[in-house]
């Protein structure tokens, strides 16, 4: 028995505008560029891909199933710039064949820096999913599939999830393979689904690569590879960016045709089916416990955090923005909090990545900057402004509090 479990990641960040040290306003984001990119991706990817998925579901009478993780930052931009995409996602949700996963609303790295912020963003995202699609997510995926035992335990202790997803990296698997359901080390309830990176990347990265020995890839061939998993696993977890369809792989590569033929090719084998992550978790027992003491991700060949934390600029920017958390939250100013959170999106730190040569091509996807240095400068200028704003608001808050205190307490404060 082999279940094919598709999960697609859909995300766009709020890109910053060019912000110099001489700028003083709080228009941090490049609305024009964000609108332009959002609409472009909607027309090249989200709309045609959603249409295709809907057709597949209808054609196979509910036997074709998929899952999405859609970030809060994308949902906000879709509402603003391409609301028709949201209606098609809504239509997908109505089919009963589509599961929506939970993640940090702002596609952030908060798991690494602040448990509070991590929980709050997950909460916010779950609420958004429920409101938009009428589902309470049961499976969590962290930004860029960043994961460790500690992250899993943090997620389990929220008490609301049954599963978590990460990369099926060779070094965490050892002799095992990604096609079983596992238990995170130190967890009692949560189940772990691992990405089959070989088969996922055959679609996401290699599909149009003419230098690849398997090019051109068609649905029959791919289904044959899936069939080979029979006997050595229960599930083939195909996790990839949704932008694979039409953006990373353009329509003229045949990616849409591939995807429209894939379900019938997979289902031709009587032992195969499609399942959503929750269904996989419910259907199969835990095969083993997986230990992941160090952080991993699905990025690049290293499967580590070096794309976001690989140089001093990145670690500094991340440290500085998280250092602001208490100050921002103490102001009670919702607008400041939202600005701050939009800056937490991992893409801002990804743009600062300097390891160009091996993995650089992927990093160029909608990177608004000429160089990682420009991106750091821009981010820090914005952060500097935000930090100044927070300090001012903080001060105003203090004054206001003091004004509302009884006069005796006020004089006490002053003497302190």
């Amino acid at each position: 028995m082999a279940s094919v479990c598709f999960y697609f990641q859909a995300h766009q960040p709020f890109r910053l505008r060019h912000y110099t040290v001489f700028d003083k306003d709080k228009n941090y984001f490049d609305d024009h560029k964000n609108a332009q990119i959002c609409r472009k991706v909607a027309h090249k990817c989200y709309l045609p891909a959603n249409r295709l998925m809907l057709e597949n579901i209808r054609k196979h009478n509910g036997q074709f199933k998929i899952a999405y993780s859609i970030t809060g930052t994308l949902i906000e931009q879709l509402k603003e710039y391409a609301p028709e995409v949201l209606s098609t996602f809504h239509a997908l949700a109505q089919t009963g064949c589509v599961e929506f996963l939970a993640e940090t609303y702002y596609h952030s790295l908060s798991a690494l820096y602040s448990r509070d912020e991590f929980y709050q963003q997950i909460e916010k995202h779950c609420n958004a999913m429920e409101e938009l699609f009428g589902q309470r997510p049961r499976v969590f995926r962290n930004t860029e599939l960043i994961y460790s035992d500690a992250v899993a335990r943090m997620v389990e202790s929220m008490g609301r999830f049954d599963g978590i997803i990460t990369e099926g990296a060779d070094h965490i698997l050892g002799y095992r393979n990604a096609n079983f359901v596992y238990r995170p080390n130190g967890c009692e309830h949560l189940k772990l689904l691992l990405k089959n990176y070989q088969l996922s990347d055959d679609i996401a990265f290699r599909f149009s690569n003419r230098a690849w020995a398997e090019w051109p890839l068609n649905a029959e061939k791919f289904a044959h590879w899936v069939n080979n998993v029979n006997g050595s696993g229960y599930t083939v977890n195909l996790f990839m960016d949704y932008e694979t369809f039409g953006e990373h792989q353009w329509a003229d590569t045949g990616i849409f045709d591939f995807m429209s033929h894939l379900p019938e090719c997979i289902l031709r084998h009587p032992d195969n089916n499609f399942k959503t992550p929750s269904e996989v978790i419910d259907s199969y027992p835990v095969a083993d416990t997986i230990e992941v003491p160090n952080l991993i991700s699905w990025a690049d060949t290293e499967r580590d955090l070096s794309a976001w934390l690989g140089n001093p600029m990145q670690s500094n920017a991340l440290y500085q923005i998280h250092r602001l958390e208490d100050r921002i939250k103490n102001t009670g100013d919702e607008e400041l909090l939202e600005l701050w959170r939009k800056l937490l999106t991992s893409d801002h730190f990804y743009y600062m990545c300097t390891k160009y040569f091996a993995d650089g091509d992927v990093h160029k996807y909608f990177n608004p900057y000429d160089s990682p240095y420009d991106s750091y400068i821009n981010f820090m200028n914005v952060l500097d402004n935000l930090s100044g704003r927070a300090a001012k608001a903080d001060f105003a808050q203090e004054i206001a509090e003091m004004a509302s205190m009884p006069s005796a307490a006020k004089s006490q404060v002053q003497t302190v």
Binding site: T20, V21, N316, Y373, Y376, I377
Partner: protein
């Protein structure tokens, strides 16, 4: 494996190089580049005969042995030379007795030309008018004509050099003629014509880089003639290649890009300066001429000082815009924050690098630009103009449009304000600059030679 092959192929090749200056007799980037390239080719086993105008300078004769049978001299390298450790096995130097000014690099020539023009202009204007006129003023067109006399003089000298070069070349054996910059182009044409050997002209800078839009027509004509007569043109950057194609009408197929390398030597070791600056230092190092964009540096400095206070701007170098720059700093009200050191050499350059937090090169037009590489080699992060050839080969540098004063200032402030930026630029930049080797440039040149010797 590759190296052996190149050596074998290189062994078969004999090149006559026509140069203008060569270490230790250098006054600009041209000599540095010729030295780097020649040395690397030497190591790849290419036989080079390097033809130079005669140079006799008392302070330098200890470094070389001059053998002068009649008018034709041969240099040999001495053990005590600064460059002795890098002996050139396959290189022979020949000099030509020529009335030419040995240090007349195009830059110096042009600089002098501009000084003459400026003096004439000021005389014409009279003392009462102190207005600083931009080069676009109509007056300079007029005075440019005055400069022509000077150029015509040099023109004749350049052609005399050409005749003599052809004469010397007759007694040499070589397969290729390789001429560096316009002053040697007529010589290159003459030698190629008399010996029927293929000609490569190597463009280290063009008249447009040196003079903006106010080109000296005679120099331009010499450059153009050389590029058109050549079988191949080597440009030091894509920027220069585009100028060669667009401004000189050379067919694109003929023009190859060979980026310069950088020479590692003892200058890159740290020296103890004992200076502890509580102020940040932003450095401009180079000739203070129109080409180098000193006014943009000062305009940016003015903006920077609106945001940051504990910073000084050092302008190291001299040039025809030096006085105007001092004046401009005063006019901008930042005279107390800008230091002019004059022309620096040797240990003083080391010290200034040691002190500097940032090097800025806002060049209006820079065919390549070796100084930024030296700055990186000395652990100083750099901001360079996008209008420079060197920006094509560096990733770990901040890049700006020379005219975008606001952005230059923004980036200067960022480097001063965010230490991780300085650290990352410095560390990665230093690493990157070590990879820019003359060996790669030499291999590319050899490939150009091969393409000419074995026509498809």
């Amino acid at each position: 494996m590759l190296k052996t092959e190149d050596q074998q192929n290189g062994n078969k090749m004999n090149v006559l190089m026509l140069g203008w200056e060569f270490p230790p007799f250098i006054s600009g980037g041209l000599g540095t580049a010729c030295y780097g390239l020649t040395k690397a080719m030497d190591q790849l086993g290419v036989n080079i005969t390097f033809l130079l105008p005669r140079v006799i300078d008392d302070s330098c004769t200890s470094h070389v042995r001059l053998i002068s049978p009649q008018a034709k001299n041969t240099y040999e390298w001495q053990e005590n030379s600064k460059y002795a450790s890098e002996k050139l096995k396959n290189v022979k130097f020949r000099t030509i007795d020529s009335p030419l000014q040995p240090y007349d690099t195009p830059e110096v020539h042009q600089q002098r030309l501009e000084q003459i023009i400026e003096r004439k202009r000021l005389m014409r204007q009279g003392i009462g008018q102190k207005s600083v006129s931009s080069p676009k003023d109509s007056q300079t067109n007029e005075s440019a004509k005055g400069g022509d006399n000077y150029g015509r003089n040099l023109h004749e000298e350049v052609h005399r050099y050409a005749e003599m070069a052809a004469d010397v070349a007759a007694s040499e054996h070589f397969d290729i003629v390789h001429a560096h910059d316009w002053m040697t182009f007529p010589a290159g044409i003459a030698v190629a014509a008399t010996t029927h050997k293929p000609l490569v002209v190597h463009v280290h800078s063009t008249e447009f880089d040196r003079s903006g839009e106010h080109v000296n027509q005679i120099v331009y004509d010499i450059e153009r003639k050389g590029m058109h007569a050549a079988d191949k043109v080597i440009a030091v950057s894509n920027l220069t290649r585009n100028i060669v194609i667009d401004r000189y009408g050379v067919t694109p197929e003929k023009v190859e890009v060979v980026h310069n390398g950088v020479q590692r030597d003892e200058r890159w070791q740290l020296v103890e300066t004992g200076i502890e600056a509580d102020e940040k230092i932003v450095l401009f190092l180079g000739r203070i001429t129109m080409q180098k964009g000193p006014e943009y540096f000062l305009q940016a400095a003015k903006k920077v000082l609106e945001a940051v206070d504990n910073v000084k701007f050092v302008m190291a170098g001299s040039g025809d815009l030096m006085h105007r720059s001092v004046q401009l700093a005063a006019e901008l009200g930042i005279g107390h924050k800008v230091l002019f050191t004059g022309f620096l050499r040797g240990d003083d350059i080391k010290k200034i690098y040691q002190m500097a937090d940032l090097y800025v090169m806002p060049s209006v037009s820079e065919p390549f630009g070796i100084v930024p590489l030296e700055a990186l080699g000395n652990d100083v992060p750099i901001i360079i103009s996008k209008q420079s050839g060197v920006s094509e080969v560096l990733m770990h540098a901040l890049k700006v449009d020379f005219w975008d004063v606001n952005e230059i200032a923004n980036k200067i402030v960022a480097v001063l304000k965010y230490p991780p930026l300085q650290i990352t630029l410095r560390n990665y930049g230093n690493f990157e600059v070590r990879k820019l080797r003359w060996g790669n440039a030499a291999i590319k040149c050899i490939n150009v030679y091969k393409s000419m010797l074995q026509p498809a």
